[in-house]
Symmetry: C2
Subunit: 318 residues, 2 copies
């Protein structure tokens, strides 16, 4: 167990020797991507150097994202282009993990996909049949649509829901109708609620999942963080030691909670969704679920760790 | 308090004199429409006669629907065409009640509507500005859409969500962005989850509401059943006596729960969503919320009451 268990200790306030000691306390780093390593196409300042330093120190590195719109190959390409030294095996994504989940359960029917090509391409890679993604808008009045345009496919055995910018009423109606059969599986890539931006809010997969959950009156299997299912390939068989694994993230209810659920050390960075003010709220809250969101450690941004890492390797003052 | 409080007594099993006694125990009838009085365009067998008999007996009659797609005038027209003797004042609808809710609070900004013309026409009637309903599909890739097509209106002061067959990602994004301002009101006409049909499931307003609730991280004011807000005009000022009011419905978590919340007598009819098998589940459940769903009385369909009513008036055997 980490010395800093759920203390939200600011790494910038630790002494030189304490940081060196902490750096030796883990040998695996699992990190979220958006908001930690990059924001859209741009690497966050210092994040590439910090991650590559971790790798140079001999630590195992995994990028772990709830983003269901990209395949592992696409995420690898993006990471390499930004300068991260990462391999495809080092990428854990919900699109890939969802396909792996179905494959492992020998799923042999067809998947109704609410999502994007990240999901359909990963399904293709493991040979699972699926519907196509893209627009499916309402056609004509409701009565006419139900009578003439609603075509249900009898071979559907699972509904997978991820981020879908073409989410629509016909998709909701099809998903709810397929899920009316209790044998039809209901899998959600992740339940991230939204992505707040300066002048707008982008809905996250979680809002599509809640819509389908409500109209189908079914509860999905959630693959993404904070569900340990996303780390299934690391934890079982035991590729990593949870107590010597550091989870880094910017969203507490996915990244930090995954760390809590798996027994990892946790580091919250303030370059994305959650900040110290949120941690203060969870400290004051009486809800035990909120307590799980408090990280062991905190940094304004991952790049802030660079001087400490360099210092710990050269023995200089921090 | 009703003699049959939450006993789910089958009216068909009561003696002649008990039915006559029960008929005298209420002087107001509030009834749900879809699944009780009619299904789509067709009146359910005997429902017209029973409701008109209630009226002939001097009881006050209210039709109370969570359907947000129709105005009071449209519901009146439908009721009259099917043969029900009803007036516009006897129609309680979520579209009308939502407009009344905003008007009463002297709302003077513009409403962003996710819903249909039932809502916009009721807003027009009370002089409240609003956006138009209809299709708002995704245009181009997400990045391009956000940069070029997402036009936010600075005059929006409320987001109203009802049933919308043109529900789409751009609508979700706009609603979540408006609701990012904590001063922007969030009003849901109702939270009905879905409408199961023989070979398909039609998503209900509740599924759109949950989607917006999730991506906006806001909790809506719900106007419709089971929220007593829908009866605001009857209860305050006191137009009716709750103890002498009978609530009839086919959906326990809206109709019967409204009756529970308002202190009405309750009658579940088995011609729609919920049946005796559901009541059995709630009896067995340990969740106190489930207990609230158990009705006082039960009938397979409203029309089954006709012989008993006729009999009680003629004094014959039931």
């Amino acid at each position: 167990m980490s010395t800093y268990k759920q203390t939200c200790t600011n790494l910038l306030e630790l002494s030189n020797s304490k940081v060196t000691e902490w750096l030796a306390s883990f040998d695996t780093v699992i990190t979220d991507c958006d908001g930690v390593l990059w924001i859209y196409g741009n690497a966050l300042e210092g994040s590439v150097d910090v991650m590559n330093q971790f790798k140079a120190m001999g630590k195992k590195i995994y990028f772990c994202t709830n983003n269901s719109t990209k395949t592992r190959a696409e995420l690898l390409k993006k990471g390499l282009e930004l300068g991260f030294r990462i391999t495809e095996e080092g990428i854990i994504s919900t699109a890939h993990a969802t396909a792996a989940y179905l494959k492992q359960r020998k799923f042999d029917k067809r998947v109704y996909v609410i999502g994007s090509e990240g999901i359909t391409q990963e399904l293709d890679k493991v040979g699972i049949k699926h519907t196509q993604c893209g627009p499916d808008p309402m056609q004509g009045p409701l009565g006419e649509f139900m009578a003439q345009h609603l075509k249900l496919d009898t071979d559907i055995g699972a509904v997978v829901v991820g981020f879908d910018e073409h989410f629509s009423f016909p998709k909701m109606m099809k998903a709810a109708s397929y899920l009316n059969d209790p044998k039809c599986l209901f899998v959600a890539t992740n339940t991230d609620e939204c992505f707040p931006m300066p002048n707008m809010v982008v809905p996250g997969s979680g809002s599509f999942v809640k819509a389908i959950q409500t109209c189908s009156e079914r509860t999905p299997t959630v693959i993404g963080k904070p569900n340990p299912a996303i780390c299934e390939s690391l934890l079982n068989p035991k590729k990593i030691d949870p107590a010597r694994t550091l989870m880094i993230g910017d969203r507490a209810n996915t990244d930090i909670l995954l760390g809590f659920n798996c027994g990892f050390q946790t580091l919250l960075v303030g370059s994305g969704i959650h900040h110290l003010s949120d941690v203060d709220q969870w400290r004051k809250s009486k809800d035990p679920e909120d307590k799980k969101l408090i990280p062991d450690l905190y940094l304004p941004k991952l790049g802030d760790l660079l001087p400490a890492i360099v210092n710990s390797q050269t023995g200089g003052s921090y």
